[in-house]
């Protein structure tokens, strides 16, 4: 479903910003902005990452299950409360695999990289630059190789 994302409500962008702030504090507190801590998890030396992802997903699951029953639509946008469901295809596996190689090599993922920059870890710009390059490369490949610029192909927006 294509929703209007240019939301006109004056509190829309402030609300998104505050949500981002809390999200960023969480990434800093949880140490996920530190590649070393993520790599420690991946080498089975510290299982804290499971608490971070599990805790965040559990709270989100609770809210997603309840909020839709309390209200019909979101106050600032009028959007219906929908769950985040994506269709399954082989790209989900292929993309997950490529992401896994990159995450295992670097210990950093997108949100954690932005938080890491905020903490003053300018070295992480290597990773952020790489992520933009990778996103561009993927977009270029999709457009050029598959001619995938059609509205139908663009219908499913991802996060």
């Amino acid at each position: 479903m294509v929703a209007k994302d240019h939301e006109a409500h004056p509190l829309f962008l402030p609300a998104v910003f505050v949500g981002g702030l809390v999200f960023g504090v969480g990434l800093a507190v949880s140490e996920m902005a530190r590649p070393e801590v993520v790599l420690d998890f991946l080498q089975f030396e510290d299982f804290g990452l499971l608490l971070v992802m599990g805790g965040a997903a559990t709270i989100t699951a609770g809210a997603y299950a309840v909020i839709g029953h309390l209200r019909d639509s979101a106050p600032l946008t009028g959007r219906a409360y929908e769950r985040r469901l994506k269709s399954f295809d082989r790209n989900v596996l292929l993309g997950g695999t490529v992401f896994g190689v990159g995450w295992g090599l670097s210990g950093i993922c997108p949100g954690a990289a932005y938080a890491s920059l905020g903490i003053g870890n300018v070295t992480i710009l290597w990773a952020i630059g790489g992520m933009f390059a990778g996103a561009y490369l993927q977009g270029w490949l999709r457009d050029v190789v598959t001619g995938d610029g059609s509205p139908a192909a663009a219908a499913e927006v991802s996060d």
Binding site: E7, E36, G104, A113, A127
Partner: protein
């Protein structure tokens, strides 16, 4: 014996991880409850490219690119606010630049191809009970564990 197990699994305790995870969840829920939007960090990469590129693949994100910049800016400033007040202050990672750059490229390709990352799939998708997201997360976790152990085994450190 339980204490030994705890010290082995969580040598740095559980408090920072649980508290951080809860805040990540609360930030996600805050945006969702007010806007109905499921946030994710990696679409920002493509939506921001739409400011400088006319490629159709990125143009689809023009409608959401402004709030995605605002959300990502919130992440940067929220982490900064914590680090420079209650946190440990600034630090630099010791992980080598080539690992960050090459890993970053693969993260950029993989998250966009796979329709999401640790936040979009890992938090919102799993929180939605999405099978697609559960499969994606299981895939990237398993692969990342294998790669990180392999990289350490061949002596690359940090």
């Amino acid at each position: 014996m339980l204490a030994d197990l705890y010290a082995t699994l969580l040598p740095n305790g559980w408090v920072t991880y649980a508290a951080g995870g809860a805040l990540i969840g609360l930030g996600t829920v805050f945006v969702y409850s007010l806007t109905g939007i499921s946030v994710g960090a990696s679409t920002f990469l493509e939506s921001t490219l739409s400011y400088v590129s006319d490629r159709p693949r990125f143009a689809q994100y023009r409608a959401s690119r402004d709030w995605r910049v605002v959300f990502s800016l919130g992440i940067v400033l929220g982490a900064a606010a914590w680090a420079f007040t209650f946190g440990d202050g600034p630090w630099l990672t010791d992980v080598q630049p080539w690992r960050l750059a090459l890993g970053g490229i693969l993260v950029g390709v993989g998250t966009r191809l796979g329709k999401g990352c640790t936040s979009g799939h890992g938090v919102c998708g799993v929180g939605s009970g999405s099978k697609t997201s559960v499969v994606n997360v299981a895939t990237f976790l398993a692969v990342a564990i294998g790669v990180a152990q392999l990289v350490a085994a061949i002596g690359v450190s940090p």
